[in-house]
Amino acid sequence: MIQKDFSPEEAKVLEVLKQVPDPEVEVNIVDLGLIYLVDKNDDAKTITIDMTLSTPGCPVGDSIIQHVQTILEITYPDYEVNVNLVWEPQWTPELISEEGRAQLNR
């Protein structure tokens, strides 16, 4: 499932994740459409991210996931961060935002 609407708090999480680039294309993972779900639970103090990669063979996939985990743990030190890698639905280039498309060809 791909989340369409984000609460203001979840939108802030997305802004943090915009600091994470895909090292190959040098575009941030949010504009690449790799983030499928953001769930920030202030009561349970958890942040859950469902994300994908452009291809299962992505040679830098591990480092992108680690980057997401680390940057959220540093930004939200009181929260438990869970990053799930999902392959459904399969990522397609149509998920890249307008901003992402512009960055790709900059």
């Binding site: 090292p23 063979g57 040679p59 997401v68 890698l85 280039p93």
Partner: protein, 431 residues
């Protein structure tokens, strides 16, 4: 641990990087030899020095870099770890030993088997068998059934076939087991080596990587499937014919047409990828790759012209053959390595130095581990060199051929600077 991630299958940087180092040294050495012996090219027939340079380029530069790149790309293409890293180290050692013997042997070659050539060829065969075993075992363990995998498996088998044929040719020159002219075996050696090993491998890897790098989905895979059938039919037919005394020449032409059709389908696939790409701007790795593909198309035209004959174009014998060979070895193989190095090597170096630091501190990106301006410069010197080679050899102009060899040497040295900058990269912290 996340399921399905190829980073976890990535080999150690120490498996991949030494291959690039050996490849780079071979490329520079071959370029130096070419400058010194450029006049040999203008004789338009094989000399011991040209045989030495060709083997240094094909085995020391192209094959060794491809070995290293493939150890890195097998996890990407087949989503599996390479079978054995230790075997990969041993393979490189055996190959380098073989190359030293083979090249020194060829430099003083008298067209009969010598101790150095036999020893070198035996080591190279052993190295190739080890590499092919490692690749095929990795492919067998892969759950991912794809057309890329089929091309890579076929290329490994053709590599084995080709080095065996190479050794047979050298021995046959001394012992005359078969009366077949050595030019007939040379034809099969070229077809199985260039098409069966190199092109099948490049097509297999490109089928996976080009769409990934250029961000393209929904491609016409039918081109690759039919290409696979056509190429295999053509290669096997041409290989079979040389063992048949006085075979009808039309059959060899039929084999070449099958191969040509297969290669045109690969070019159509590449065109499909480039025309549908979301990433319109080509980065420093993809520009030389696109140029290499154009050179590949030109080399096919040159090979087709070889078949029509030099007489047909009013050229002396040997001209078109050497131009076609230069376009293939320098234009295509070297061009694609010059580009794809920047799509592979910086990533494994970057993962080694920075994977554990991402998010904790600012790190350079893989694209910042080499000098991008130098990539543009060596892309231009490379194109100029190939154009000079073609013009100089087609019209036999000494100064143009000398300039071509000097420009290629410059290309190899600039490339060498960039690849050693990546290989010997020291971890940086950015504030």
């Amino acid at each position: 641990m996340q399921v399905g991630l190829s980073t976890q299958n990535a080999p150690s940087v120490w498996v991949v990087a030494p291959h690039y180092l050996v490849g780079t040294v071979s490329f520079i050495l071959a370029s130096v030899l070419m400058v010194i012996h450029y006049e040999d090219l203008l004789n338009y027939h094989l000399t011991p020095t040209l045989i030495a340079i060709t083997h240094l380029m094909i085995l020391g530069w192209v094959s060794i870099v491809i070995f290293g790149a493939l150890y890195q790309l097998i996890p990407v293409v087949m989503e599996v770890k390479i079978y054995s890293e230790k075997l990969a180290y041993a393979t490189l050692g055996v190959m380098v030993t073989g190359l030293i013997f083979l090249i020194t042997g060829f430099l003083k070659f008298e067209f009969k088997a010598s101790f150095e050539v036999i020893t070198g060829a035996s080591f190279v065969i052993a190295g190739v068998v080890m590499f092919a075993f490692n690749t095929l075992k990795s492919a067998a363990a892969s759950q991912k059934k794809s057309i890329s995998r089929l091309y890579i498996i076929a290329s490994g088998l053709y590599l084995l076939l080709n080095v065996s044929l190479g050794l047979f040719m050298v021995l046959n020159m001394s012992y005359n087991w078969l009366a077949t002219a050595h030019t007939e075996f040379l034809k099969a050696h070229l077809v199985v080596g260039l098409i069966g090993w190199f092109l099948m491998l490049i097509i297999g890897v490109a089928a996976r990587l080009l769409p990934m790098f250029l961000i393209v989905h929904k491609l016409k895979e039918v081109y690759l499937k039919w290409g696979f059938y056509l190429l295999n039919s053509g290669i096997l037919l041409s290989f079979t014919l040389v063992w048949i005394p006085k075979y009808p020449k039309e059959l060899f032409a039929a084999a070449l047409i099958l191969i040509l059709a297969g290669l045109i389908l690969f070019l159509l696939f590449s065109y499909d990828v480039f025309s549908k790409r979301m990433r319109k701007k080509l980065d420093s790795g993809m520009k030389p790759t696109a140029i290499a593909l154009i050179m590949f198309a030109l080399s096919l035209i040159a090979f087709a012209a070889v078949y029509a004959g030099n007489d047909f174009f009013g050229l002396p014998a040997g001209r078109l053959e050497i131009v076609a060979g230069i376009l293939m070895i320098y234009g295509f193989f070297t061009g694609i390595i010059l580009g794809q190095t920047y799509k592979t090597l910086p990533f494994i170096i970057w993962l080694f130095h920075y994977q554990k630091l991402v998010g904790r501190q600012k790190t350079p990106l893989p694209g910042e581990l080499f000098n991008e301006k130098f990539v543009s410069v060596h892309t231009w010197t490379f194109v100029i060199s190939v154009v000079l080679f073609v013009a100089g050899l087609l019209f036999s102009i000494q100064i143009v051929v000398l300039s071509a060899t000097a420009t290629m040497l410059l290309t190899s040295m600039i490339y060498g600077y960039n690849s050693s900058k990546m290989i010997f990269h020291k971890k940086q912290t950015i504030k």
